[in-house]
Amino acid sequence: MRLRYLIPVLGFVVLFIGLAVGLTLKPREIPSALIGKPVPVFDLAPVKGRSIGLSTADLKLGTPVLVNVFASWCVPCRQEHPLFMELARTTDFKIYGLNQRDEPDDAARWLDAFGDPYDRTGADISGRTSIDWGVYGVPETFVVDGNGCIQYKHISVLTREILEEEILPRLRGEKHVPCEG
């Protein structure tokens, strides 16, 4: 008869397992259909105050690059920004910034204040290029191989863990996905 007093705690154990598994799930509402696809065709002027813009051709220069979608109005972008600064300081990987729907002055001020880790920037003022990239929210980060083929996409704030486990290997050419079409 004492066993019935165990029922609540057993129920909790089941719940705990569910929650624990739930926590490990990655948000993946709509998986990127662009992995293994060539980057869209675009050509953007640089963010105000910077001289080199960003276009499709810049993503086909033979070395893998990182494309980070950011905006000055985006709070989580600030959170991941130091990681890009660090990456720019300590490695030779190219980092490109896609500035989504920003006021030119705001974007420039933001980069001046917090540092500019980007080798190239593209000012996507209308947001159309981001749509072509399948960008859902800001921030998002893409890895593109040397032939302009999208290898990886990370949604929301970049963490050190993701950087080390998913992004750096791909920048080094590992886990390569062949390009369709």
Binding site: R2, Y5, G18, L19, G22, L25, P27, W73, S156
Partner: protein, 665 residues
């Protein structure tokens, strides 16, 4: 400087909470008076420190100190003072601080008001309250510091979401948290009772006011949230069964059950193990609600970045708090058996039925809320459990509950005569049947659910009235004598009747608006007229309006009744720039028997505007009913028996049989 002071106060509070949580427990176990003595001053100290931190954060918000990350993210210099203050808890870190603040407040309240509690019990309760505090303070210090600085200091803040800049929502979280956190006291009492292996009437008399107060606050909080959704979200919905709402609704349902089962413990010294379990579960669901809302496990839309570290921490905390207390329950609860015996048909029996139905209803809500998560975990399939699921499971369980609700309070303790009880309700039954018949006549047989709803609502109201009439012997003795009796009735009897009637009123409101709502949706050009529920609305066109921090388009509708102009309604669509967002400000014309609700939408580019007009019958009754329920809770709280001081005098005489049993086990 002030933010650092706040941060420092939080860290100090954590160390104090650790001392408060651990030392007195050891002291109580080993009988070391010097350690037990720490409990009370530590609880007060912890409260003062957290109050200091809370004031520091509020000061940062009020003075728009954007060097604090949290203020920069959530505030703006242009914001009215009210929303600067409510911005404190309009974000993750700040709301956590508010949570801890209320927790410490309640802990300190037990410490200062608990003179009449047995020392050991009081010590343990305060210690457990301290341990809960430790969990949240750890989260606050290590993973969610609200005082984090930014450098360089931004010139302007990001602003608060316009939807939240609303008086209804500004005070919604504090009420919810008082409710959630208040249940922690019942939880601490339950755990302390398990450690001691003793639950008696005095225990129940202590648990009940805290539960009542929390329940009342939660009722108000939920009602406010629902009311806000109604007028702010633009289509007049008032309940959505979404995870965040369910997270507050489940503790409310369980708290309601606890409220009732504690009566049985108090009056009849029975159902002890069950009541202790309910106390644990009620707070567990409050914690779980926090988990659901804070960790984002249930909101899969990626932009609302889930924070895995926080999630893992909260989960670990749940394991310690819920898993630990339930394990303690499995170990110690068998010792709590015994108590008054009663027949299935009795007041106790009715309360057991109430509990069973409430718990079953909570389970269905719980399954509906968690199922998407479990399915995702097992198969990766994304699924939504929508309102139809909840209607199909929750409502059928509520119908018998409501039917019994009017009868239960009329039954005597121990053993009741069902036929006799029902015969005392015959006037109420007759009135209920007439309400049902009138409804049937007015709305026809195809609206059978409306008839059922109206009948149940009426049954509750008339039942509550009968209860009071019976107790005051109304019409059987002179009016004056009845009046004197009414004054002498225990406040808890009044409170119960008011709350039950309030639920009846709310059910009438729900039924009315669900059954007879009408809506008109069309493109309107200036001069167009539309008829709804006996009103004629003429669209006058739109004009641009400039608000303090938004631009708006305002439509004008002239309301005619029987050809006479009675009112003008002006719904707006507002465009905010900081942060960029559009909100719909519906125009509402509330009346006793139905609101007119108008929304103006986008232009069709051709002089016409999409307009949506609703008539929402009796929707006001919903909020009035909720307020009555909360009022019932408050009236009950003023009951003499629940006042501080009463428990000690009764404790001495409580349940010798229990202690005998204790010795036997």
């Amino acid at each position: 400087m002030i933010p650092e002071l706040g941060h420092f106060a939080v860290i100090l509070a954590l160390t104090v909470a650790l001392a408060q949580g651990i030392l007195p427990l050891i002291g109580a176990q080993r009988g070391i008076a010097s350690l037990t003595a720490i409990a009370r001053p530590a609880a007060v100290m912890q409260f003062l420190l957290i109050a200091l931190a809370f004031i520091a954060l509020t000061a940062a918000f009020v003075s728009s100190d954007f060097s604090v990350l949290n203020v920069w993210q959530n505030s703006h210099t242009d914001k009215p003072l009210l929303y600067k203050v409510s911005g404190v808890w309009g974000n993750h870190e700040g709301s956590l601080l508010l949570w801890v603040f209320i927790l410490a407040l309640f802990g300190a309240a037990v410490a200062t008001l608990g003179n009449n509690l047995p020392t050991v019990l009081r010590t343990r309760v305060i210690a457990i309250q301290g341990l809960i505090g430790v969990g949240f303070l750890l989260l606050l210090v290590f993973l969610s510091n609200p005082f984090e600085r930014v450098f360089p200091v931004p010139a302007q803040g990001n602003g608060l979401n316009p939807l939240l800049q609303d008086p209804g929502l500004a005070f919604h979280p504090p009420f919810l948290y008082i409710g959630y956190v208040g249940f922690s006291i019942a939880f601490s009492f339950a755990v302390a009772a398990l450690i001691e292996g003793k639950v008696d009437a005095a225990w129940a008399r202590w648990v009940r006011p805290w539960t009542l107060a929390s329940w009342t606050a939660l009722t108000i909080g939920i009602a406010m949230g629902s009311w806000w959704a109604y007028y702010e979200l633009g289509w007049g919905g008032w309940w959505f069964w979404d995870p965040v709402e369910n997270a507050s609704f489940m503790p409310w349902l369980l708290g309601t059950a606890l409220l009732h089962s504690a009566i049985v413990v108090e009056k009849r010294d029975s159902l002890k193990a069950w009541t202790v379990l309910l106390a644990i579960l009620t707070f567990s669901f409050s914690l779980l609600g926090t988990f659901i809302v804070r960790s984002g496990v249930l909101t899969s839309v990626h932009a609302f970045a889930t924070d895995p570290e926080r999630g893992v921490f909260i989960l670990a905390f749940l394991v310690v708090a819920i898993g630990g207390s339930l394990a303690l329950y499995a170990w110690r609860a068998p010792a709590l058996k015994g108590g008054g015996i009663f027949a299935p048909v009795s007041r106790e029996g009715a309360l057991v039925l109430n509990n069973l139905l409430l718990v079953a209803a909570t389970s269905t809500v719980f399954i509906g809320t968690m199922y998407p998560l479990f399915l995702d975990a097992i198969s990766g399939e994304k699924v939504t459990v929508g309102p139809p699921f909840f209607t199909a499971t929750f409502v059928p369980l509520m119908v018998p509950l409501l039917a019994v609700m009017a009868i239960g309070p009329m039954m005597p303790w121990k053993r009741a005569d069902l036929a006799g009880t029902l015969s005392r309700l015959k006037i109420a039954a007759a009135l209920t049947v007439s309400v049902a018949l009138v409804t049937l006549y007015l709305s026809g047989v195809d609206q059978i659910l409306a008839v059922l709803g109206m009948a149940l609502g009426a049954w509750l109201i008339f039942g509550a009235a009968t209860d009071i009439a019976e107790r005051t012997k109304l019409f059987r003795i002179s009016i004056g004598e009845s009046f004197r009796r009414a004054q002498n009735l225990p406040r808890s009897a009044w409170g119960g009747a008011i709350a039950h009637a309030g639920l009846g009123v709310a059910i009438l409101g729900m039924t009315g608006t669900l059954s007879w709502e009408t809506e008109q949706l069309q493109i309107m050009r200036p001069g167009d007229r539309v008829e709804i529920a006996g009103y004629e609305l003429e669209f006058d066109g739109v004009e641009p309006v400039t608000g303090p921090n938004y631009d708006a388009v305002r439509g004008t509708f002239r309301i005619y009744r029987n050809g006479r102009l009675v009112d003008v309604m002006r719904p707006e669509t507002r465009r905010f720039s900081d942060p960029p967002m559009v909100t719909t400000e519906a125009a509402i014309r509330p009346r006793n028997f139905g609101d007119l609700y108008a929304v103006v939408g986008e232009s069709n580019g051709d002089g016409g505007y999409a307009a949506r007009i609703y008539h929402k019958p009796m929707i006001n009754w919903l909020w009035i009913g909720a307020l009555l329920m909360a009022a019932g809770g408050l009236v009950s709280l003023t009951d003499r028996r629940l006042r501080v001081g009463a428990p000690a005098r009764r404790a001495a005489t409580a349940s010798p049989d229990l202690r005998a049993q204790q010795r036997a086990t």
